[in-house]
């Protein structure tokens, strides 16, 4: 099984920053799993955790947990100062997200359709544990595929503007992706992503919006969130069908959701059943495996065994994936050594491989290259 380097190695002072990458990653994972342990760290180790947490946008979450445990006031003033700062940023972000979601709700209220909030704004609106100290920049919503045109038209009339993009990018979004081109509010500048499903249909995985919408849970004010199983699968897809490099925060989202929903009767059965139905068994398997191993999520042994039997890749592929995820998920910035850069590149390539069939992928890469060269030439001459 996967393991993380045990924290506690004390690097020599001159090489401190070079070594703090790998050590910081290990200490950070340990601190997020067991926030109480933070109050026992010496100043140097605490410094490493604070900077690693900041790079992963996890300072405010850690602050929330430390306040909950009643140990924040035991930390040195310099640490409390950083936590206080992160708290202000996170609180302001939460106010913005709530406000923006409410604007979207008001704009679309007349259409009589279900507006399902996704990801960060959904956790916030539904009061779910991953929302604590979580920082999001976009609003993500899911609407019925049949109503996407009406929704877009209403939003554009209500002050949201489509990004300027060329015909190819339009085609990329409209024909292949699970969302329309992103909209940005013309005055407030917040990005709104309108989805009609949770994974790009071009991949061959077609998840009808009706199935997602039918099981959604109301959260008041005419807004909805995905059912527990679909919410976990969406987070799983987001993390493991895309590039998981540097996304410890998203793994912790999964940890929180699995821990909370795992206590509900019938959750695990419905989770594996929905994964089978949506064709998302593989990302579910990875989610359960790495959540159990890296964040210590309590997952029933029978569920792990069942998903392994049904959805795991072959042993070679799995050991490669273990190697990649273990190196990349906690690495954030370049220069952290240990094969991190290679792992990140391979995971990036993999995410495109999963998203698009080979023919489409090659064409996409060629077109992107063409446009990039074209833009560079245009910049030079114009």
């Amino acid at each position: 099984m996967v393991e993380v380097d045990t924290p506690g190695r004390s690097p020599a002072s001159p090489a401190r920053t070079a070594a703090s990458g790998a050590r910081g990653a290990a200490l950070l994972v340990h601190s997020m799993r067991d926030p109480a342990s933070v109050s026992r760290l010496d100043a140097e180790a605490l410094d490493v955790v604070l900077h690693a947490a900041r790079r992963h946008d996890l300072l405010a979450r850690l602050e929330h947990d430390l306040v909950g445990l009643g140990v924040l006031q035991d930390l040195p003033e310099a640490a409390r100062r950083q936590f206080a700062n992160a708290r202000v940023h996170a609180q302001a972000n939460a106010v913005t997200l709530r406000f923006e979601a409410d604007r979207v709700r008001r704009a679309l209220a007349g259409l009589g359709i279900r507006i399902v909030l996704l990801k960060g704004v959904a956790y916030l609106w539904a009061g779910l544990p991953p929302a604590r100290g979580r920082f999001s920049v976009d609003i993500d919503i899911l609407v019925p595929a049949a109503d996407v045109g009406r929704v877009e038209w209403t939003l554009v009339n209500g002050g949201w503007q489509p990004a300027e993009m060329n015909a190819y990018d339009q085609h990329y979004y409209r024909d292949w992706m699970h969302q329309i081109p992103p909209l940005t509010h013309s005055e407030r500048g917040v990005e709104l992503d309108v989805h009609h499903t949770i994974f790009p249909p071009v991949s061959g995985i077609r998840i009808a919006s009706e199935t997602l919408l039918a099981d959604a849970t109301p959260v008041g004010d005419g807004l909805w969130v995905l059912s527990p199983a679909d919410m976990v699968l969406h987070a799983a897809t987001h993390l493991f069908q895309e590039n998981p490099a540097g996304r410890l925060r998203d793994l912790l989202d999964l940890h929180d959701l699995l821990t909370l929903f795992g206590q509900q009767a019938g959750f695990w059965d419905s989770l594996t059943e929905r994964a089978r139905r949506h064709g998302l068994g593989r990302p579910l398997y990875y989610s359960l495996r790495y959540a159990a191993d890296l964040t210590g999520t309590a997952i029933p042994a029978a569920v792990l065994a069942r998903t392994e039997a049904a959805f795991a890749p072959d042993a070679v592929q799995l050991s490669v994936m273990d190697w990649l995820v273990r190196r990349a998920i906690v690495a954030r910035s370049p220069g952290q050594g240990g094969g991190g850069a290679l792992a990140r590149f391979l995971l990036f390539t993999r995410s495109h491989w999963i998203k698009m069939p080979l023919g489409v992928l090659l064409r996409h890469a060629a077109v992107k290259l063409f446009y990039r060269m074209h833009e560079r030439n245009a910049a030079k001459t114009g």
């Binding site: 100043a43 140097e44 604070l50 202000v88 302001a92 910035s333």
Partner: protein, 316 residues
């Protein structure tokens, strides 16, 4: 320990290895760099700056280095990383010092547990004056003129307001002078310690003026805001002082608040507190002598009777 009191070879080694931990604006900022030329400029400008010893908790880690291994030798360009991210464009080697200054500003502005106004702040006899104004309105020039005539420098760029007690946190960094103000202040304060000129575009120069040693020595001493003065320089114009009403003052401060949206209720309360506790004026001036005299008159008035120093006129 002061930065200037560390032997230079030791300091250079520290800049290269674990970084030099500077105490600024109530923060501990760790700066590492392998760009030799910039170290001399930092020493020159930050000689009196207090350092933190050994290792401990840094608020921000900054690293100034070459934009790529090639850029160390050919077409030399430098880049500054704050917590591993590069918020600015790479800059020619000779302008690397500007990146350091920009990064320090960035760190101060990110600290949202304080309410931060775009303003110069100075203090005298325990009373602080906030001079809110957008960039290139001459506030740094006026600030430089005041601190070379006995006022204490809090900051030429930021009013750092602590919401807990409504007091201003000093920063005491070099004052940045641009274009015409460079010659003006060189004439005004011939004994000042000036940095070399950094020309970042044709006809666009920046020179830094080192703050008075006393301002740096007292950089942990917070100050009570007593006056708000919105400066407006117009060459040759007569000096005028116009009282500002409360709502106008509130609007002025909010417009110049750099983190009003992030600080939310706390920012509103802090600014409302300022409006209630300070007298506010608009000062137009054509020469630095006029402005400094006017500031001294306002200070005298505020010191004699803080309550009557508040303007009673509410119309502009």
């Amino acid at each position: 320990m002061r930065l200037g009191s560390v032997p230079e070879p030791v300091l250079r080694a520290q800049f290269r290895a674990a970084g030099v931990r500077m105490r600024l604006a109530g923060l501990c900022l760790n700066l590492r760099t392998d760009v030799p030329a910039v170290i001399g400029q930092i020493v020159q400008m930050y000689e009196d700056l207090p350092l933190e010893a050994g290792v401990g908790i840094d608020d921000y880690r900054l690293r100034l280095t070459y934009a790529s291994p090639l850029r160390r030798f050919v077409g030399r360009r430098t880049q500054i990383y704050i917590e591993g991210e590069a918020p600015f464009f790479p800059t020619p080697h000779r302008l690397a010092y500007l990146l350091v200054e920009a990064a320090l500003n960035w760190c101060i502005r990110q600290t949202v547990s304080n309410v931060i106004l775009h303003a110069a702040t100075v203090e005298r006899e325990g009373l602080a004056v906030i001079l809110p104004a957008p960039s290139s309105s001459g506030k740094s020039t006026l600030c430089a003129a005041l601190v070379t005539r006995g006022w204490r420098l809090l900051s030429d760029e930021h009013a750092v307001l602590r919401p807990a007690d409504g007091r201003l946190q000093p920063i005491a960094r070099p004052i940045s002078l641009k274009n015409e103000s460079i010659g003006l202040i060189r004439q005004w304060a011939p004994d000042g310690h000036f940095s070399p000129a950094f020309s970042w575009a044709i006809g666009e120069d920046i020179v830094y003026l080192r703050p008075p040693a006393d301002s740096i020595a007292r950089a942990t001493e917070t100050a009570r805001p007593a006056l708000i003065v919105a400066p407006a320089y117009r060459a040759g114009a007569p000096v005028t002082l116009q009282p500002l009403g409360k709502s106008e003052t509130f609007r002025l401060l909010v417009d110049n608040c750099m983190n009003y949206h992030t600080t939310q209720r706390c920012g509103f309360d802090a600014i409302a507190g300022l409006v209630d506790s300070c007298a506010a004026w608009r000062l137009s001036y054509g020469t630095l002598e006029q402005a400094v005299d006017a500031m001294e008159a306002l200070l005298a008035r505020a010191r004699m009777d803080p309550m009557t120093s508040r303007p009673t006129i509410t119309t502009a």
